[in-house]
Amino acid sequence: MRGREFLGRIRYLFRRGEAARDLREEMHLHIELRARKLRERGLGDDAEFAARRQFGNRGTYADKSSEIWGWAVWERIVQDFRMGARSLRKTPGFTVVAVLTLAVGLGMNTAVYSVVNAVMLRQLPYARPGQLVSLWEEHPKGHDNFNSHGDTLNKSGGAGALARTTVSVANIADYSGSQPIAQMASFDMANMNLTGAGVPERVAGEAVSANFFSVLGVTPVRGRDFRTEDDSPDAAPVVMISYDFWQGRLGGDTQVLDRSVMLDGRPRRIAGVLPRGFQSPSELAEGAASEFYVPAAYSKEQLQSRGDHDAGVVARLKPGVAIRRAQADLKVVQARLARQYPGTNKEMYPVIGPLRDDVVKGAGTALWALLGASGLLVLITCVNVANLLLVRATGRRRESSVRLAMGASRMRLVRLFLAESLLLAAAGCAAGMLLGTLLTRALIALAPAGIPRLESTTMDWTVFAFAASIAIVTGVIFGIAPAWQASQTKPVEALKTAARSSGNKTQLRWRASLTIVEVGLSLVLLVGAGLLLRSFAVVMKVDLGFQPDHILAMNINLPELRYPAAGLRLRFFETLESRVRALAGVQSVAYANRMPMRGSWRSGFQLDGNPDELKADFQAIGPGYFETFGIALVGGRVLTAHDREGQPPVAVVNQAFGRILLNGHDPMGHAFLYRDDARVEIVGVVSDIRRGGKTALVLPEVYLSAAQTKLYPVHIADFAVRTSGNPLQLANAIRQEVLGIDKDQPITNVHSMGEIVDTSVAQRRFQMLLLALFAAVAAALAVIGIYGVLSYSVAQRTGELGIRIALGANPRGIAGMVMRQAGKLILAGLAVGLVGALVLTRFLESLLFQLQSTDWPTYVCAASALALAAGAAALVPAIRSARVDPIVALRDE
């Protein structure tokens, strides 16, 4: 029975056109026969009408009959969409404008989302990435009694805030014993000079513990993984190379495992080749490729030291262990270490977090802000399209009325309108995806370096699903107002009044509120963009304290194997200095262990016999340093070539040194104890610089002479020249001089100082430009919205305005009336927008530099700019209203 019924339905599905015709024929015959019968009874001409009335609404019964077969719902949906498509085709102008508007909103949103997806949401490319965590150590600020690669530069917050650092190697052994942790591996940067294969080159690599690859779940495609016995200073040196190293530098040699490479003057046997596309966590985070990995091979001293925090740590949790539990367990380990080694571990707290958060780092806030902004933009496009649809719905009130009068239910009408807007949304989505693909490519091309995983951005199915669901949601949002409007049509009234004058009060109120929302949303974006813009202007105005123009900077890393003694390294740089100074166009030459914009090295010392240890940034510099960077001498003398080993140890400090460490007293004549109790006299004071770049703090600085090598036996690797012409033109000449001294010595990171400063603000600039673009599009849409509403209301009131003018109203007064209407809309929108901006821009706070998110001048500027633009847009319909010709207007009525 059931089965037969089902078969019946299926058969019906394939011949439903025929079935509908049959039914029509039956009904037709029925009415005809009834009419004849009635006529026989003497009803005459009324017979036909009476027969129809007796039968009832033919359409309704036909619908009910076909409903029986169970396909009506689907049929109607198909029918709704077909009708929607037909009516959209009939108004190509409207359709194109609506689809393009949607495409802009959805396209921008899709582009930003695809970047967010690649950078922040997608799983890391490792085995079971959910179990991977990174481990850091945190300590109260101001207690940084050690050196570290960590992010210890004060960014915000004062005392009491925690600073994060990489981990001490000795502590790793204790942490990895923690029960919830399956395995723990360490890694550190290890860039080395690659020689023996053409031009010597500095190559980026990492020094990792032997279990590094197994923790990440990666196995070499060739050769073997590192073994525990490789990870010792005495072991035969090996190296793991990246796939690109193998293919690019070794030509994909199949005998690769029999080869060695020369790194920092030491031959290393190739143990294995990593899979194609493998990227270590730090590669993902920094965006720079690591080409090789060597065993960390920590020395005995390093394995004992709890004061040096050098190692990055990645760990795999045991299956099913929550991060919170592992964190709690580490706390217990920390308590034990604090008792055992109070000197180094008392205030050193291990913290773990998902490895992914670590890879994303600072990019997160900016990207969320951009995604939020593009979301607002989508809302604005929705509002705009809804406005367009409302106008269209008004023009179609007659059509709606006829449909209602013919027996369509109000629900059916709502569905019909929704089908139309969903079609628009689908078309907008398709166009938006296309635009989004282009915009994504543009985003990646224009984005500054340093956004992790950006290059892996692709349009995958999650992006597509996101765009599609946004499109559906927007379709419903902007479709609902006109659909509701249409369903409220009162057919008799609507048919009585002419279609043209049929815009009613509700309709206008809808459009007015949509416009207010639109103005409000775009004000939020304008304020956001304005804040970033002002903040960027503040950044750009910051005086670095040194002159970055006309400086060429580069790195020259001398491998320890060939330059084991500090004296040898110094001699190299002194020779290079004298050779380069002889080049045409060179004004002065500097070498140092750390140049401005290239990190800092904090160290402790004791001032004037006071046993309390103080902190300052230390660097060892060559004699031309201050001249090259344009740092002014304020008092005393600069360091010269005569401040060598054997001469009394001297130092130059900056003004902040006196201001911060000496209560504002002149540092001249003071002396400090440093390293093995060497007494260093302060012989000069120079002006302050912002070492870390425009947004960094000015900190106490101590400059030592690089020639006093015992005092500060660091590796000098930064080299810079001040030039009279374009600094980049000297790069080759300097390279030749370096190769002239040592044919195996590469130079790297060759940039003009201007470029380096530029790069340091590139992310800020990019965020600002992107948000400014969003805000501009939003404001344009809002202005169009205002214009639309006013033009519409003027067009509607043409008759009324004609009468007013005919009765002697002043055209100026009429225009004023329209402008007042505009003013109300704009003011209401601005009020909404101000509240929204106050709430939403708080999320931008961390992107702002020396600027509150409540910075009122920005609000005033944004609001008045938007008000001006919107007011200008309102002028057009206002002028039009004043020019209404009463004769024409009244003739139209």
Binding site: H30, L33, F55, G56, Y61, S65
Partner: protein, 85 residues
């Protein structure tokens, strides 16, 4: 009988007591076709017009029988309530 004949015969038989819109017959006919209680076959009327003639199937007859029985029971019950002995 075709559609009009059915409607007309109901009207005549009930002497116009049951006044419903005649169109409502057609959804009912469709439902019975779907359940295979009726068979519809196209034929010609006396005036050579195409019309669908409906006949009861065996299953339809069974269904009719059980509906009549059910109706009998219900109407007896109603009669007993209205006319208590």
């Amino acid at each position: 009988m075709h559609g009009f004949e059915i409607a007309d015969s109901i009207q005549t038989a009930t002497e116009d007591v049951l006044q419903v819109e005649e169109g409502s017959l057609y959804p009912a006919l469709q439902r019975m076709l779907l359940k295979a209680w009726l068979r519809g076959e196209w034929g010609k009327t006396d005036e050579n017009r195409r019309a669908r003639y409906y006949t009861l199937t065996a299953e339809g007859r069974k269904q009719l029988q059980s509906e009549i029985e059910r109706y009998g029971r219900v109407s007896q019950a109603i009669a007993r309530i209205l006319d208590p002995v």
